[in-house]
C-alpha cells in the first residue's frame, strides 16, 4: 500500500484461544487517525485479550492486524512499540524499585545511551538528549499532577497515582496509537474525568486511541466511535449516542439473551 492508509489500525477476524476456551472469536475493527475509539462489553468478553493480541503480547491464532498498512502479526511487543504503538496495562506494571522519573525516562525513544556502546562512548550526547527528555518527563508529570513524586520509587505510589504514572509513561513514548486498558478503573470519578480530558488533548496533538472503558458517561463524552464486544465478537458499533440508545446494547449490558453459542470449544 503506497498511499497513506486512512486507518491507522485495521484488525481483521482475529481469533485467540486459551487452551480450550475462546477469548476472541473473530473480531474486526478499524481505527481512523486522530480518533478516540472506545471498546466496551461485559466482563470476559475478550477486550483485554484483543488489546494484548494487537500489541504482540500474545499471538493471534487466526486473523491479521495491520498498522499503517503493514502487517504486525508476527512482531514482538518491542517491535510493535518501535512502529509507534504503545500499550498501557490495566493493572499498572511499573518498575517498582525505580523512581517515577526513571519510569518515565525508560519510555523515551531514541536515547543513544540505551545502547551499550552509546552508554559508554557517547556520554555527552546522551546527557544532552536526557535533558530534553527530562524536560518532557517533568512536563508530562506536571500535567498529571505527579510532580512532587518525581523522585519517589514507583512502588510507593497509591493505586490512583500508579494508574496516572502508567498513562504518563505511555504518553512519554509519543505513540501514534495508544492502547489503553481501563484507564479509569480504580480511580475516583473526578480523576477519571481528568485523565480523559488529558487524553483528549493528546488526540488533538495527533494521537489515535483505542480505549477499553466501562464508564459510559466517559465514553459518551470523549469517544468518537464505539465498538461493543460480546463473547469474543464485535456485535455493535456506532457513535456513542447511537450505541447508548441501541436496544442491543441494553440487552448485552442489562438483560435479555443475545444470540450466540456456548463458549466455543476448539
Amino acid at each position: 500500500m503506497s498511499k497513506i492508509d486512512p486507518m491507522i489500525l485495521r484488525v481483521r477476524d482475529v481469533v485467540k484461544n486459551y487452551g480450550g476456551l475462546c477469548a476472541v472469536a473473530g473480531a474486526s475493527l478499524d481505527i481512523p487517525r486522530r480518533t478516540t475509539i472506545a471498546l466496551v462489553g461485559p466482563n470476559g468478553c475478550g477486550k483485554t485479550s484483543l488489546l494484548k493480541t494487537i500489541f504482540g503480547l500474545q499471538r493471534a491464532d487466526e486473523g491479521s492486524i495491520y498498522f499503517e498498512g503493514e502487517s504486525i502479526d508476527e512482531l514482538q511487543p518491542n517491535e510493535v512499540f518501535d512502529r509507534g504503538i504503545v500499550h498501557a496495562f490495566q493493572f499498572p506494571r511499573l518498575f517498582n524499585q525505580m523512581s517515577v522519573l526513571d519510569n518515565m525516562l525508560i519510555a523515551a525513544r531514541g536515547n543513544r545511551g540505551d545502547r551499550f556502546a552509546g552508554s559508554l562512548f557517547s556520554r555527552k550526547k546522551w546527557r544532552e538528549q536526557e535533558e530534553t527528555m527530562l524536560q518532557k518527563a517533568t512536563d508530562t508529570l506536571k500535567l498529571m499532577d505527579l510532580t512532587r513524586l518525581t523522585n519517589e520509587p514507583a512502588g510507593s505510589l497509591s493505586g490512583g497515582q500508579k494508574k496516572l504514572l502508567e498513562i504518563s509513561r505511555a504518553i512519554m513514548a509519543e505513540p501514534k496509537l495508544l492502547l489503553l486498558d481501563e484507564p479509569a478503573a480504580g480511580v475516583n470519578p473526578v480523576l477519571a474525568k481528568k485523565i480523559f480530558e488529558k487524553i483528549e488533548m493528546f488526540r488533538h496533538g495527533g494521537m489515535s486511541l483505542l480505549i477499553i472503558e466501562h464508564r459510559m458517561e466517559l465514553v459518551m463524552e470523549f469517544a468518537n466511535w464505539v465498538y461493543v464486544m460480546d463473547r469474543g465478537k464485535i456485535v455493535l458499533e456506532g457513535r456513542p449516542a447511537e450505541v447508548a440508545a441501541s436496544p442491543l446494547f441494553y440487552e448485552i449490558y442489562i438483560g435479555g439473551e443475545p444470540g450466540g453459542t456456548d463458549i466455543c470449544v476448539s
Binding site: 511487543p77 518491542n78 518498575f95 526513571d102 545511551g113 559508554l120 556520554r123 535533558e131 524536560q135
Partner: protein
C-alpha cells in the same frame, strides 16, 4: 607468629580484591538485571584456566588478561544462547550444570593438567613474601578499580536503567521497546568477561589451580557477597566480599592456631548458610541499598 598473621592478613586483602571483581560481575547480572546465574564459578574458571595455560606458554601478562576476559565472555555468550530464553529457575539449573560439566571436561580431557591442575609462575619476583603480597594487592585493586568504574558507568547510564527495568518487569520493559533478549545477552557477556578477569587474577596469585578449586561452593560464596552487601550497589557488593572473606580467613586462621572441638571450617560453612537465610528474612536488600540512576539536572529549577 605475628609475621604469619600479617601474611595471612595480606593474603586476605588480595582475595578481597579478587572476589570483589567476581561479586561486581554477578552484581551486573543479578543485582542490576535480575539474571540468576548459578554457574558463576564456570566463568571464573574459564578465565583462570585461560590465564594459566597462556602464562605457562610464556605469553605476556597483558595478553593473558585480555585473553582470559575474552574467552570467558565467549563462554558466556555460548551459555547465554540457550539459557537466556529460559525462566529464571531453568536458567539457574542450566548455568549451574554448565559449571559442573565444564569442570568434568577439564578433569577428564587433561586440560591444564586434568585432575592434577596446573602451576603458574607468578609475575612478581620479589625477595620477600611481603613484597609479593603487597604487589598483588596493588594488582588486584587496580583491576578492581577498572571493573568498578566500568560497572558504575554502565549501571548509571540509560543502559543501566534498562537493566533495572528488565529486572523489575520484563514484559513491561519489552512493551517499552527494549529488546530484552539482546540486553540480557550483553549483560551476561559483560558479567562473564569480568568474572574471567577475576579468575585470571586468582590463577596468577594462587600459582597453582586445579579443578577442585572451582567447586559450586565458590558460586555460592559470590552470591553471598552480593546478597549480603546489597544487590544493585557496587560498593555494597565489595563490602559484602570483604565481610565474607574476613569471615572465611578467620575460620582458616582459627583452624591453624587454635584447637577447637569442632572444625571451624565446617562451622564457617554452616554459619554462612544460616547468615544467608537470615539475610533473606530480615535484610533482603542487603547492607547497602541500591542507588537510583541520576539523570542530568534540569537547567532551570522545576517549580513545584
Amino acid at each position: 607468629m605475628t609475621y604469619g598473621l600479617l601474611m595471612n592478613l595480606l593474603d586476605m586483602v588480595v582475595m578481597i580484591g579478587i572476589y570483589s571483581i567476581a561479586a561486581i560481575s554477578l552484581n551486573l547480572e543479578y543485582g542490576f538485571t535480575g539474571l540468576s546465574n548459578f554457574g558463576k564459578v564456570a566463568f571464573f574458571m574459564v578465565g583462570a584456566y585461560t590465564y594459566a595455560i597462556l602464562a605457562q606458554a610464556g605469553v605476556n601478562f597483558g595478553v593473558c588478561m585480555v585473553a582470559s576476559a575474552v574467552s570467558a565472555a565467549a563462554f558466556g555468550f555460548l551459555v547465554s544462547l540457550p539459557a537466556l530464553r529460559l525462566r529464571e529457575d531453568y536458567l539457574a539449573i542450566v548455568t549451574l550444570t554448565s559449571g559442573e560439566i565444564l569442570r568434568t571436561i577439564i578433569q577428564n580431557q587433561g586440560i591444564g593438567g586434568g585432575y592434577n591442575g596446573i602451576s603458574i609462575t607468578q609475575i612478581f619476583h620479589f625477595q620477600t613474601l611481603m613484597a609479593i603480597r603487597l604487589a598483588n594487592i596493588g594488582l588486584a585493586f587496580a583491576f578492581l578499580g577498572i571493573c568498578f568504574i566500568f560497572s558504575q558507568l554502565v549501571a548509571n547510564s540509560p543502559y543501566g536503567r534498562i537493566m533495572r527495568a528488565i529486572r523489575e518487569d520484563q514484559t513491561a520493559a519489552q512493551s517499552y521497546g527494549k529488546n530484552i533478549q539482546r540486553y540480557k545477552s550483553q549483560v551476561f557477556i559483560m558479567g562473564s568477561a569480568i568474572a574471567g578477569i577475576g579468575g585470571a587474577l586468582f590463577a596468577q596469585y594462587s600459582a597453582h589451580i586445579e579443578p577442585g578449586s572451582f567447586l559450586p561452593f565458590l558460586t555460592f560464596t559470590i552470591w553471598m557477597m552480593v546478597m549480603l552487601g546489597g544487590p544493585g550497589n557496587n560498593l555494597g557488593v565489595i563490602l559484602g566480599a570483604a565481610v565474607v572473606q574476613i569471615f572465611q580467613k578467620s575460620a582458616a586462621i582459627l583452624k591453624d592456631y587454635v584447637h577447637l572441638p569442632v572444625d571451624p571450617i565446617n562451622v564457617q560453612y554452616i554459619l554462612f548458610g544460616i547468615l544467608i537465610i537470615l539475610v533473606l528474612f530480615y535484610r533482603p536488600s542487603g547492607l547497602l541499598k541500591e542507588s537510583p540512576v541520576k539523570p542530568p539536572k534540569l537547567k532551570e529549577p522545576v517549580n513545584v
